[in-house]
């Protein structure tokens, strides 16, 4: 399994080598900023899913690499526009483009990243993959619209799940599903791969939303409690709401009425120390468990083991310290 991980690491470097020429061909400040964002990296979990799934199912290496690179670039493109939409100031611990650039430059940088993503996706040389790619784009944009255009914040778990499926899980679904499609796998195998990607993606987003309450600014790369401060209601807040339906501050955030900054900071701290965190983590664990069950449909290979390891790592062990602290609250 270690050699599988090593060879995946090598292929991730090959992905960077595919992306850079596109960016370097454009000799602008804007391309340099995009380069910084690609280099700063993140965990590359989406291309890892694509590479492992494709290798497990026998995809051709070159088209698979291009698909994986396209998925990472699509992710980066959505980060750039989302940071503008959310007015985020920090991303991966460095200042976001929109925090020191005009919206025009930020918009254009995201467009550029998206254009590179589309050109890489075409290089995977598969029409069904292009179809999945554009469907995913539609889903992700639809998710952002849902968030931006709602008159009120989310107040039901069903709406939250629909939202994170559209904005996050759809890209994980693409990573595993398109890689399976590239492998000429049967439709039912592709469907299992998509389901696996969906489950990983749901767990990933829930954990991201939990860490927004429980993480440290240094490791988050952004301020704690940022979501609620932006008016974005996520799963921990929704579980807290179910237990405290009349909490005046949370109700006012959802209704998009005014509230004092002090009461909001108190609410963030209260949710962080409540059982809502425990419940949200359990929900993420359920998705991880489902993803492991989905994996059993695949041949028992080193790649399948590596995918299982990726699934288990979605929930960082550090989160359990928090869980223990709140379990009896």
């Amino acid at each position: 399994m270690n050699s599988e991980i090593d060879s995946t690491r090598e292929r991730l470097q090959q992905i960077d080598a595919l992306i850079y020429p596109y960016i370097e061909s454009n000799n602008s400040t804007l391309a340099k900023a995009l380069y910084q964002l690609v280099v700063s990296g993140g965990k590359r979990i989406r291309p890892r899913l694509a590479l492992l799934t494709g290798n497990m199912l026998g995809a051709e290496p070159q088209p698979l690499l291009r698909l994986a690179a396209a998925i990472e670039m699509l992710h980066i493109a959505t980060l750039v526009h989302d940071d503008l939409i959310d007015r985020a100031a920090l991303r991966r611990g460095i200042a976001t483009l929109n925090s020191h650039w005009s919206s025009a430059a930020t918009t254009l940088t995201g467009d550029f990243a998206f254009a590179v993503a589309a050109q890489l996706a075409v290089q995977a040389d598969s029409f069904p993959v292009m179809r999945l790619f554009t469907e995913t784009l539609g889903s992700m944009v639809g998710g952002e619209i849902l968030q931006l255009s709602s008159a009120k914040g989310i107040s039901m778990r069903e709406d939250y799940y629909r939202w994170i499926q559209a904005k996050t899980a759809s890209l994980f679904e693409l990573a595993a599903g398109a890689a399976a499609r590239l492998s000429q796998a049967d439709d039912d195998v592709v469907a299992v791969a998509r389901k696996f990607g969906h489950e990983i993606g749901m767990a990933f987003q829930i954990i991201d939303d939990v860490l927004d309450f429980t993480g440290q600014e240094a490791s988050l790369g952004k301020p704690v409690g940022n979501d609620l401060r932006q008016g974005t209601v996520t799963l921990p807040a929704l579980y807290y709401l179910e237990a405290h339906p009349d909490d005046p501050t949370l109700v006012s955030v959802i209704q998009r009425n005014g509230h004092t900054p002090d009461s909001l900071e108190r609410l963030i701290a209260t949710i962080r120390d409540s059982r809502a965190i425990e419940r949200a983590i359990s929900e993420a664990e359920g998705f991880v468990q489902n993803s492991l069950t989905s994996l059993e449909a695949f041949p028992e290979t080193p790649e399948r083991q590596a995918l299982a390891a990726v699934a288990r790592q979605i929930i960082p062990t550090s989160i359990y310290a928090q869980r223990k602290a709140t379990a009896n609250v």
Copy 2:
């Protein structure tokens, strides 16, 4: 030929019918704004080129319609983001989204339009068409980056031509070229179609840039002299610069140094009344003439005649009044 034009009109309505369901499926203010932009229409010259070229060369009607719809939506997506980038206040005579919306909402509306375009393009059911579509996207974004990221304004005609090819002519090239590709035409026929589209597109942009000086606000749908006021140097200004290389106001616009608003307004009026206008129109006429020559390679059909009519209409007869007035200046 009239019946050809009538049937093209009917097909243009079918295009709207393809676009609307995507937009209507999203019940947001943002989708409603996009709907307004689609309805307000414009001349639909790009989808007309695609439909006429495809019909001339025997493309299947349904994929061709989808391609034409995708091209119009890609055009609309770039309008939305370009208006943000140019900080334009009026487009097609109505307020641009960015003039009364946040940059976040404007960015997202453009992304939504782009996602619809990509989904329509996939429905043309042709991998070579998807490849051309993404190449064009790369070219158009590259053109905008060139414009936004240059430390100085354009001062050479070569740079201007490279820029308008990237931002405008590439989409016309896609319209005719992808329609030819969809017709299973030979590579050399596709190449002629692309060349035809390129020439039409170059003429179209030059005329647009001339009208920015000579048009009336009412028919332009935006203020006269807007380009230069935004620091954008186009062909009339470049011809004027060749005759007056030391004009202090124009030099300061290109160098992006300060200048007084009064001197800029005087410069706009001076260029409008100069022979630079005449020269730019002649340049556009040259491109139209080349496009008509390209057309001769195609079978003599009603569609070819209609394409020639489209080419001739790129230069509006009203522009000649201006030309006559300045010919002896």
